[in-house]
């Protein structure tokens, strides 16, 4: 085998430099956000957006973000956590089970399932907004957490991902062996499948966590009271407060709040990434 094989090439500085350009592109808006979250509101209006200016007020801003309006931001944070844990958690479970079912069982209607799911996703969300709102209104669910959680339970992309993973990562022989040993289907799912699918599940969890964390459109329509808002809708309200008669601009809180909204996801990704990475290389080799 050659010294520099495709499996162990040497690092390229040129490539790194080129990618660094992409990195800068990615980071510029975020850097803007961090810089301006450190400013007081008057400083925001008078200093340049791309440089620090005025007194350093990051910690003051953070404190004010958490205490403004009787700590509604904390409430919004709590709501978002609720929607994410219930919504993304539930979505991951449903997608895992359904993806496994699609991959490993040749049941009648199998081909139709994914086509229907994809077709339904193709319909713009606005078509669903009013009917869903009216339906949920009949059921008395509008303006409650369930109105946000239930629709979040469907992740078509998660379904697809688990389907692919399960097809690849779970050998039929493994399932057969377990069946011969007398295990029921659900037992097999819980003990054999989940272990094999772990990296895929973590990936789906990551994507669903991000998308429920950032869910904006549906909560905007379903919720009429701030006490149930997730962070995205709450930030939007703070942002809109700046205009019109009797405005109460809180730009500095919008910026600081935005920063605080992003940080947990970054941490979650870093944590999940380590777990996911170690699982991936182990699960791919077949006998």
């Amino acid at each position: 085998m050659a010294t520099f094989s495709v499996t162990r090439p040497r690092k390229s500085r040129v490539l790194t430099a080129v990618m660094a350009l992409y990195l800068i592109y990615t980071l510029v808006p975020l850097v803007w956000l961090v810089i301006n979250a450190t400013k007081t509101q008057p400083a925001l209006f008078t200093t340049s957006g791309l440089a620090f200016g005025g007194p350093f007020a990051l910690f003051d801003n953070i404190g004010e973000t958490f205490t403004y309006d009787d700590g509604i931001f904390l409430r919004w944070l709590g709501n978002t956590l609720l929607y994410v844990v219930a919504g993304a958690g539930g979505a991951t479970i449903l997608a895992t089970a359904a993806g496994y079912g699609l991959a490993k069982y040749r049941f009648p209607g199998r081909r139709a399932v994914f086509a229907v799911v994809l077709g339904a996703v193709a319909v713009p969300g606005t078509a669903l907004a009013v009917p869903t709102f009216l339906m949920f209104s009949e059921l008395g669910l509008t303006n409650t957490p369930l109105a946000i959680i239930i629709p979040s339970l469907i992740s078509p992309f998660g379904l697809y991902l688990i389907w692919v993973y399960a097809s690849d990562a779970i050998p039929d022989e493994l399932l057969e062996a377990a069946r011969i040993d007398g295990a029921g289907e659900i037992r097999i799912f819980l003990t054999v499948t989940l272990r094999q699918l772990a990296p895929g599940i973590v990936t789906v969890a990551l994507f669903t966590v991000v998308s429920t964390w950032n869910n904006y459109f549906l909560p905007l329509i379903m919720l009429s009271e701030p006490k149930w808002y997730p962070l995205t809708v709450g930030l939007n309200q703070w942002s809109a407060q700046a205009s019109g008669a009797g405005a109460q601009p809180v730009y500095h809180l919008v910026l600081t709040g935005s920063l605080l909204t992003i940080v947990p996801l970054v941490i979650a990704f870093l944590l999940m990434q380590r777990y996911w990475q170690s699982g991936l290389s182990a699960g791919s080799v077949k006998q």
Partner: protein
């Protein structure tokens, strides 16, 4: 050496008793049912309701609903606002999706190539924008686009002329395209990267034995392996483009004269419902868009997968 298929294929039939196989067939529903039940409630029922709505016409102010059959559909197909918005997302799709996917592909290949210093760092940072809610992304880019105090203004000062005007009529679609690319390239990069990560090492070793260099390996091993992922990423990106709503809607506050109420079909449907209270017509617009999107997505899927899914 057993061959390992990269695209998902159903497992070959076992030499098991027919009775056992038949029982197993239906058990699939056990696992798929929870998903489909919630799906029926949150997607199928509202779509059905929307379809029913599209066959009627109600006058929001005075009540009174009349059955109009396909009148609404005829109206949509003759509606210049609808076609204006449709054309716009078509252009958007044709330009933004390829750019974004190529960017994501290059990034994924670069990170996977092990030739990059600090690959892990790149992977995290490039994914970051996906973690940013659209509201915040629009806020940040909205500032940067400001041609009085933003980055655009600074560029204009540098160039000495008023050239960069991201929020003007000519540039707006590209500016929105930029925000969407910024937001989702990392997400697509991760999809490609995951697909690359499951390529069995044997394939690389085989290629190396055959004397392939780095680029050859990319072409003959990695890209084919990515086929499925590219197809699905394309499909979801197409759907996303046709449904474009969040970014233009939020940036509308910055430039309402450029981004009107029917800038994209989804915005049109939204404003018909929530601004004009014309729920029936709104449902019709959305269903027409949904059908068009589904057809195109299906076509892409057919052409994209040799073996089918």
């Amino acid at each position: 050496m057993t061959s390992t298929a990269v695209a998902p294929t159903p497992a070959p039939p076992r030499r098991a008793a027919t009775a056992r196989r038949a029982r197993r067939d239906w058990r699939g529903w056990l696992f798929v049912a929870p998903f489909m039940l919630v799906f029926a409630l949150t997607f199928l029922a509202p779509i059905g309701y929307a379809f029913v709505l599209s066959l009627f016409r109600e006058q929001a102010f005075f009540g009174g609903t009349t059955f109009v059959g396909v009148d609404n559909y005829a109206q949509v197909l003759a509606d210049p606002k609808f076609w204006d918005s449709f054309q716009r997302v078509l252009v958007f799709l044709a330009v933004q999706v390829p750019i974004m996917l190529v960017l994501a592909l290059i990034a994924a290949l670069a990170i996977d190539s092990a030739r990059l210093h600090a690959a892990g760092f790149f992977r995290v940072v490039i994914f970051l924008p996906y973690a940013v809610p659209a509201v915040v992304a629009a806020l940040m880019w909205g500032f940067l686009y400001g041609d009085h105090f933003g980055l655009a203004a600074d560029l204009n000062h540098l160039l000495g002329r008023d050239v960069v005007k991201p929020l003007s009529d000519n540039w707006m679609l590209a500016s929105i395209g930029n925000v969407v690319t910024w937001e989702f390239a990392g997400y697509n990069m991760l999809i490609f990267y995951s697909a690359l990560k499951v390529i069995p090492k044997e394939q690389f070793e085989a290629a190396a034995i055959d004397g392939a260099g780095a680029f050859r390996a990319i072409l003959s091993v990695k890209l084919p392996a990515l086929r499925g992922a590219i197809v699905i990423a394309t499909i979801f990106s197409i759907i996303g483009s046709f449904q474009l709503f969040n970014e233009p809607n939020i940036m509308r506050t910055l430039a309402p004269n450029v981004i009107g109420t029917f800038y994209t079909p989804n915005m049109y449907a939204y404003n018909l419902s929530f601004g004009a209270q014309q729920y029936n017509y709104s449902a019709t617009v959305a269903i027409v868009m949904g059908v068009i999107t589904a057809i195109i997505a299906y076509v892409v899927q057919l052409r994209g997968s040799r073996k089918g899914m």
